[in-house]
């Protein structure tokens, strides 16, 4: 049997029963939505999809299949924003098969046609799944980029004193970024004292300590003195337990102490006016 004509017969059948199928499809979908989208909206979206499916199947329209895929991708994205899981989205598409099958079951002729149709709907379901995964990947990549940018400010505390408040876990990528920003700021401002504040670093293990030491060494090569501050009691305990040595790098408890240290190194004194 010719595939095109089989699809054409299926399309004709579906066009004849459009209201019934879409109605049933919307019912099935609405049951799984649990009030996240209104029934009206579902009905409208499914009607659009349904007519695209028929257009794609009747084969008269070259662009229909592309439009259908775009519509499926759009549906997947909008569902993803409404906190649907990928399987919920795929099931929503698969529900079309159930809706059509209920009608086909009454007739005996359209069984091979229905099989072809079923395979096509499976393909659509998988397409929404893929789009969903791709959309999530994009969001995650954007977020991690934003976090990387947000989390590495270099601030000026005083003439010649700059500080880097480190917040979050310090991995190689972030260390690289922090180092670059710190060194650039040192050159740009001509500062000769840098304070690394690790109050916001949750844990300091040997790797993090290694990264800190690298940063300090790089800053020293530019002639800047470095102080590490914001070491919390638990962190101090871990550092000593792990046997990490900060060598001749000055460490202070708080940012205020570090600033006072930096000022005294610069020959300045802060006291009551």
């Amino acid at each position: 049997m010719d595939v095109d004509s089989s699809q054409g017969r299926m399309a004709a059948f579906m066009r004849d029963h459009q209201d019934k199928v879409v109605g049933r499809w919307a019912e099935l979908v609405a049951a799984g939505v649990r009030g996240r989208i209104s029934a009206m909206e579902i009905r409208r979206e499914l009607e659009d999809l349904y007519s695209l499916v028929i257009r794609a199947m009747s084969g008269a329209d070259e662009q229909a299949i592309g439009e259908l895929r775009a519509a499926l991708a759009e549906l997947s994205r909008s569902r993803a924003r409404n906190v649907f899981t990928p399987s919920e989205i795929a099931l929503e598409i698969f529900a079309l098969k159930d809706a059509v099958y209920e009608l086909v079951a009454d007739t005996t002729e359209l069984v091979p046609e229905f099989l072809g149709f079923s395979r096509m709907v499976d393909d659509f379901g998988l397409h929404t799944f893929e789009t969903y995964a791709a959309a999530r990947e994009e969001i995650i990549a954007d977020q991690s980029m934003t976090m990387l940018e947000l989390s590495t400010p270099v601030v000026r505390l005083w003439e010649g004193v700059i500080a880097v408040p480190l917040v979050g876990t310090l991995d190689s990528a972030r260390t690289q970024l922090v180092m670059e920003k710190l060194l650039e700021t040192l050159v740009a401002t001509g500062a000769d004292h840098a304070v690394l504040d690790i109050t916001g670093v949750p844990t300091v293990d040997t790797e993090v300590a290694q990264h800190l030491l690298k940063t300090v060494n790089a800053a020293r090569l530019l002639g800047a003195d470095c102080t590490i501050c914001g070491i919390r009691p638990q962190v101090a305990h871990t550092i000593v337990s792990l046997g990490i040595e900060f060598g001749d790098i000055a460490t202070k408890a708080t940012l205020a102490d570090a600033l006072a240290h930096a000022l005294s190194r610069a020959g300045l004194k802060v006291g009551p006016a």
Partner: protein, 117 residues
Amino acid sequence: MERVPIVKIGKTLFVSIQIDLQDESVLRLQEDLADELAATGATGVIIDITAVEIVDSFIGRMLTMIGSISRLFDAETVLVGMRPAVAITLTELGLSLRGVRTALNADKGLKLLNGSS
């Protein structure tokens, strides 16, 4: 082979490296500097590497050696004008240039020498 000029200003020898450092020219610089230190009795050496964009482990080690040689003549070495990218490379190579002091620019380097002597 290109040579790096050594300029004496007061009690300080000023070396500004403005060529692509080849291993040979670095060795030559070491010899020239030792000769100059012996002849002038300078107490400080400023090496300006503002124009240096690429540093490898050999050159890093040579800079440390220049520091050690100067110390034998009772002179202090200050390395000035290092670019951030160079600093990162040296750190990644694990070279911290012990025995060589560093400053952001020549001005600060001079202050460092005058302050310590």
